[in-house]
């Protein structure tokens, strides 16, 4: 069973988002997502400053066996990306909710979070897909 922290929100594509303050959030892919991908060897990150819509593709994660798109959970402006992943993509496998964070976003409309899943709903979602 993969790890699903209670304090995060989730998308059906297995991204997570954590509010850092009222308007800024950190995003990444879930433990379940990295387990499905296994050995991650390449990460393509968005450019800081980029304006994105919720559900828009912003990054690419490639494992030895597969490529997977990463979508922004919410709308806003990318404020920071985790450059450490470019040299050490395996951080995504080892610590997807910590050192493996992917990007920070300044949210346009924090109420978009209401449309995302909580931990229990996400757990049920991945259960239904397996």
């Amino acid at each position: 069973m993969s790890h699903i922290p209670d304090d995060l929100k989730y998308t059906k594509d297995s991204e997570w988002i954590r509010m850092d303050d009222e308007f800024t959030a950190t995003c990444g892919i879930t433990d379940h997502a990295q387990e499905m991908l296994t050995d991650i060897v390449f990460v393509e990150l968005p450019e800081p400053g980029m304006e994105v819509a919720g559900g828009e593709q912003v990054a690419v994660v490639e494992s030895v066996k597969a490529v997977s798109n990463v979508y922004s959970p919410v709308s806003g402006r990318i404020s920071e990306v985790n450059r450490a992943l470019e040299g050490s993509p395996e951080l995504l496998n080892g610590d997807p909710y910590g050192e493996g964070w992917m990007f920070k976003i300044e949210m346009k409309a924090p109420r978009e979070l209401d449309g995302l899943m909580d931990a229990a709903a996400y757990a049920a979602h991945i259960e239904s897909e397996s």
Binding site: F42, E44, V60, K65
Partner: protein
């Protein structure tokens, strides 16, 4: 309904992640492709490749039939020896790439790709004369590949047969093991020394377990299709449907050494001409110099002009970079030449390199 090998339950018990491969439910990995790849390069990997096909060609006309079917000198074979070759079409394209094991002057055991079993049977039956019998034994045969530097040590622990240690590369023998007859061949698809074991389905589970147990102290791991694909790519072995196909000839695939027969085989005119005068396209090996992972079907650009397409690609754990093979217009890329590979519409710098990426280690 997907087909399952005799080892299906073993894969589930080992936590194999099952995928559809040519209609077969097989593990792409168990724990990690990188770990399974490393185990095979340093100790041993154990592969279930029972989906592959086995066809027996039998009868007084068997040898002359094969002379007609393949571009490689059949005289290269002798009883207890095997060789790699292909079945070619009249236009030089490849029906399938195959391994032929010579049992006797009148009996040959042919190993073919899973996805092409029916197509191959149709092809050989259409060309077989009355003095040749074609028997498909795929459904009752399991194939277990034991590959890696420790494979001989592991094999001899399981199989008390001194012939194993004397086997030269491409040689094989039949052995009795726990009252079951199995075929042991020193061949493989990984770039490591290794053995391919052909057993009746009902003996597959016990042999699989014995090998895993005997290999424990050598770091053996069950290895899935993902590791197998990367191992063969590093060794620059062709994969049917990628570097070889109905529309890619063995000469284009860089397998000139298969075109050696003086007999009147199917495809001879085209293949001999390509071998002498050059083929219109050629398979090259490349490394990615920029970041990323090349996959198949990425366009190859030189000076902004598309000259071909990648046929295989992946991330090499040995080289720690993206590697691949590509089919390009002949004469456009020499070893050392730089070019761009278009990955998701982004040009990524790449360079043509010497074949193979990983020299045979055995």
């Amino acid at each position: 309904m997907m087909r399952r090998t005799a080892l299906y339950e073993e894969h589930l018990a080992l936590d194999g992640r099952m995928v559809d491969f040519a209609g077969w439910e097989l593990p792409v990995l168990y724990s990690s492709i990188i770990e399974e790849h490393a185990a095979t390069r340093t100790g041993a990997g154990l592969f279930d490749v029972s989906h592959m096909g086995e066809i027996i060609v039998n009868g007084p006309g068997a040898k002359s039939f094969l002379r007609r079917m393949i571009p490689t000198r059949v005289d290269k074979l002798a009883p207890s020896r095997s060789m790699y070759t292909c079945l070619c079409r009249e236009d030089g394209g490849v029906v399938d790439d195959i391994f032929i094991f010579m049992i006797s002057e009148s009996e040959f055991y042919i190993v073919v790709n899973a996805a092409t079993i029916e197509k191959d049977l149709k092809w050989v039956r259409a060309h077989a004369s009355n003095d040749v019998e074609i028997v498909d034994v795929s459904a009752e045969t399991s194939k277990i590949d034991l590959q890696g530097p420790a494979s001989l040590d592991i094999l001899t622990r399981v199989l008390a047969d001194e012939r194993a240690g004397r086997l030269e590369r491409f040689e094989f023998f039949h052995a009795e093991h726990r009252a079951v007859r199995l075929m042991v061949s020193r061949t493989g698809y990984t770039g490591e020394n290794g053995y391919e074991l052909f057993v009746p389905n009902d003996a597959a589970v016990s042999l699989w377990r014995e090998l895993l147990q005997a290999g424990e102290e050598y770091g053996i791991k069950p290895a899935g299709l993902g590791a197998r694909d990367m191992l063969r790519l590093e060794a620059a072995y062709s994969l049917y449907g990628h570097e070889l196909s109905d529309t890619i000839t063995p000469v284009e695939a860089g397998l000139n050494w298969l075109v050696t027969s003086a007999d009147d085989y199917i495809g001879r005119r085209v293949l001999v001409e390509q071998k002498e005068k050059g083929a219109p396209r050629t398979i090259i090996c490349f490394e990615l110099e920029g970041r990323g992972v090349p996959r198949e079907h990425c366009p190859v650009l030189k000076d902004g002009v598309e000259i071909g397409m990648s046929t295989s690609g992946g991330f090499s754990p040995i080289l720690k970079k993206g590697i691949g093979m590509a089919l390009v217009k002949a004469g456009t890329l020499a070893v050392g030449d730089a070019f761009s590979l278009l990955i998701r519409d982004n040009p990524v710098p790449a360079r043509a390199v010497k074949r193979p990426f990983y020299a045979f280690n055995g």
